[in-house]
Symmetry: C2
Subunit: 119 residues, 2 copies
DNA sequence: ACATTCCTGTTATAAAATAACATAACTTTC
DNA sequence: GAAAGTTATGTTATTTTATAACAGGAATGT
């Protein structure tokens, strides 16, 4: 599992739960919380938070999904190609919740600086 | 309260609880969670989370304190002068937790763009 | 003094995340 | 193909983070 060659695609390489969770996140089209995912998937056999968290964490690892820290919610990564490890600014609409990603070189430079300084 | 002329200073204009909470956050010198603040201040009469959250939220409003979203924790704003409303990148040390602030114009431009787009 | 506003305290509850443990499925490797 | 190893799954309980709702108290303004 966790096939690096398939990262960022809609892989057949996902496990059952990962596929279920990804489906809901995609259908939402905006940041969605773990417990809302749980509610949506209850009827389909997902019965505990742990299962959801395990799945989203895998998806984040794969670069398919991002966490919006300020909302405790998760979005499908909209970019066609994966930006693994790259820092991202997520602009979130106050009203509709739509997210636009900015992969910002400036931010990356700042982070690089921080790493140099032993951060 | 919330005297705009004193923002960013160590004001006498703080209420009792705000002063207590700020003291702990400053003493920590790194991001500290609400419940850890609570534990520290238990002996000094703070007995519930609400009190802590009320205080930190006021301090954030004043620009004295920032929330580190990715950690659910709070830091004293290190800059001498206040950057109210301005977007900030917080570089947090993995090891010691020390925080350096970047007030990034690029990010601000991105945010401005987002606002224009009715975000 | 009266109304207004803001800070305070308390209890209860919601929301988000992880710990700990047991089982099942899928690969290796021999 | 059986034993060993790894990864996904399921379940229960707990921890951590945050807010709702209500009541009393202190300061301020007019």
């Amino acid at each position: 599992m966790l096939d690096l060659n398939r990262v960022g695609t809609i892989p057949g390489g996902l496990t059952k739960n990962q596929a279920l969770v990804l489906e809901i996140i995609e259908k939402a089209g905006k940041p969605i919380g773990a417990y809302e995912i749980l509610r949506e998937l209850g009827p389909r056999g997902i019965k505990s938070p742990v299962q959801v968290y395990r799945a989203v964490n895998s998806l984040i690892q794969c670069g398919i999904v991002r966490k919006v820290e300020s909302m405790n919610a998760f979005v499908r990564c909209t970019d066609a190609h994966p930006h693994r490890g790259q820092t991202t600014i997520l602009a979130v609409c106050d009203r509709c919740g739509t997210v636009v990603e900015h992969h910002d070189e400036t931010v990356d430079r700042r982070v690089a600086w921080a790493e140099q300084e032993a951060f």
